[in-house]
Homo-oligomer: 139 residues x 4
Amino acid sequence: MTGLDLDTARKVLDSQPFSRLLGARITAFGDGEAVLEVDVREELRQQNGYLHGGVLAYAADNSITFAAGTTLGPAVLTGGFSVQYVRPATGRTLLARAAVVHTGRRQAVVRCDLLTVGEDGAETLCAVAQGTVLSAGTS
Amino acid sequence: MTGLDLDTARKVLDSQPFSRLLGARITAFGDGEAVLEVDVREELRQQNGYLHGGVLAYAADNSITFAAGTTLGPAVLTGGFSVQYVRPATGRTLLARAAVVHTGRRQAVVRCDLLTVGEDGAETLCAVAQGTVLSAGTS
Amino acid sequence: MTGLDLDTARKVLDSQPFSRLLGARITAFGDGEAVLEVDVREELRQQNGYLHGGVLAYAADNSITFAAGTTLGPAVLTGGFSVQYVRPATGRTLLARAAVVHTGRRQAVVRCDLLTVGEDGAETLCAVAQGTVLSAGTS
Amino acid sequence: MTGLDLDTARKVLDSQPFSRLLGARITAFGDGEAVLEVDVREELRQQNGYLHGGVLAYAADNSITFAAGTTLGPAVLTGGFSVQYVRPATGRTLLARAAVVHTGRRQAVVRCDLLTVGEDGAETLCAVAQGTVLSAGTS
């Protein structure tokens, strides 16, 4: 019981200037899970027109942290993560779906799927990530 | 011999809209190494005033890719990377120093140090990363 | 269609002296998935009586490689993997369940759950991994 | 100041049945660094005669943990690591050289080079790793 809900998570996300710069929104938060969305726009691309890997890495990092916040509470520090890209990312919206696979008192381990949603609503997996988040409360 | 130099690398970076949004510049490129810099500004922060982890992840991803480009040539695909954060990032400028540890015909493995430079010029390590970049030319 | 089946996979595993040293067996192989099992015995422990992390890392590495073999064929090279331990491993048998999340012509990305089975048959998650396997055939 | 020295580290390694099974020895320990060695023998190979990736993963895991022990003390838990293989491992002896890149009160981040030493004494890089070790004392 962390006392956090989707409204609180939205306020935290909105208090991150970098998340506002990217236009990220959080659409699910609770029970070990968090979903972050970023609408694809020109400014987020790389030189070949695909979504820049750095945007996917941002979305992995942040969705992993939020998912861990549902079990560890608001005071968390992301320890790190690993991301593997599986195909170039195109589409209308990037979705980062993160889910805690194990949580203890001190840390949570979280997996994340990064998908894009096309104009037709079809989802395509673009990258997978897994990371570790530490509770800052016990530091 | 990839035929790439710092000027070419700057043009590639400048052709990435997301790198322009972040204000990234490349200050070294060659012989298995690349250095990317991002000046810290309000828009790149998270809610506690530190540089957002997603900015560090972007800088890791992109500097690793550029370093691999010095050995694999311009047609590369980043396979993925792992990043571990070691302390909250503050300072004036973020530096991502990437160096190839091994390159073959098909892929390069690259390590990256992420540091911030303070107002006094002192460098502080904030994160370390390691990743894999594939040559797209042989696919 | 790789022309591989569980019998062939068992022969490959049996031709790995290190897998015989550890007593590994493969119990499922096909359609992007592989399951590797190792019975826990004294020789596989660390100093506190838990299964050594190196045994889990071996099982992650090898099950990821076999799972990729179901889609890429027998000539594969494991590029690397990331493993996060979530709790000390005890029990009767270690299970490594690997599943391909994406496969292309040149590489597969694979996730793996590492669980132990207790005396009562209950499964406990001990670690999670994700890795990349390259097709050696196109090199 | 952890009160640990090379003799103590050797005793800890010798109290790990799995490290004895593999024939590992520790040849350096202190000041954020640890070196683990494993002589290559038939039992440690995979099907093509190379050292099994699981042996390299074991050596990465264990040398990272020992290196962290020089700064965090004896009560540590390895959180996880990422390993990238750069070439098939052959030679006489495997060397895992681990060095702490940052240590705090709660965790250390460690990098590791995995090399083989040939009959002629030449060293060849086979894999690189980076991992995180938690202090168990504050849990």
